[in-house]
């Protein structure tokens, strides 16, 4: 097995782990704010690792660039959307969870 294939496998598995963690967080965390926190990990880190892994196998720099662009776009929208939803939730008067 080539080194690049090995690295890709590790990165993809790590990415999948973050997606799993994000989903578990979405299902298990107690309120909307903590769920947001879990979710953005899947978006940012999970997809980032996967994109990195796939970019190692890309046939050209342009493809790697497109993969990176996709990740940056998801990063931008997930960060903004998380902010917007959290702000709207505060305005609606949803209280953050306290232990």
């Amino acid at each position: 097995m080539l080194l690049s294939e090995f690295l890709t496998s590790v990165l993809l598995l790590a990415g999948a782990f973050f997606f799993l963690a994000g989903t578990v967080g979405l299902l298990r965390f107690p309120d909307v704010y903590t769920r947001l926190h879990a979710l953005t990990k899947a978006d940012n880190v999970g997809l980032g690792l996967m994109v990195l892994g796939l970019a190692l196998q890309a046939e050209s720099w342009a493809v790697a660039g497109k993969l990176l662009l996709i990740w940056l776009l998801v990063l931008l929208s997930s960060a903004s959307v998380a902010h917007l939803i959290a702000k709207a939730a505060r305005q609606k008067g949803i209280e953050p969870w306290k232990q």
Partner: protein
């Protein structure tokens, strides 16, 4: 390698299906919308993996469109579906 791509895509599909539970449970609309947001990202990753597994480079454009439009539904939610209630309260 194709096996690994496909297996991870399948795994992501499973996490997506598990996430549907949050849409059913809620309790608030924001929770449901959050789950939909996560589905969007999962779909992006899934499409990228399938593009690599079946050597269909044009599928990356599908992922690009998902990534670009991920925000539109959520913005519609924040600006309309949730804003409607606030608007109504303000009018009273």
């Amino acid at each position: 390698m194709e096996m690994l791509y496909l297996a991870i895509a399948l795994f992501l599909l499973l996490t997506l299906v598990a996430g549907l539970w949050r849409v059913l449970r809620g309790p608030t609309s924001a929770d449901r919308m959050l789950a939909a947001q996560l589905f969007g990202t999962t779909a992006v990753a899934c499409v990228l993996l399938l593009a690599q597994a079946f050597e269909r480079p044009m599928l990356r454009d599908v992922a690009l469109i998902f990534a670009l439009l991920a925000a539109v539904t959520a913005v519609a939610f924040v600006r309309r579906a949730w804003a409607a209630g606030d608007q109504n309260d303000a009018v009273k």
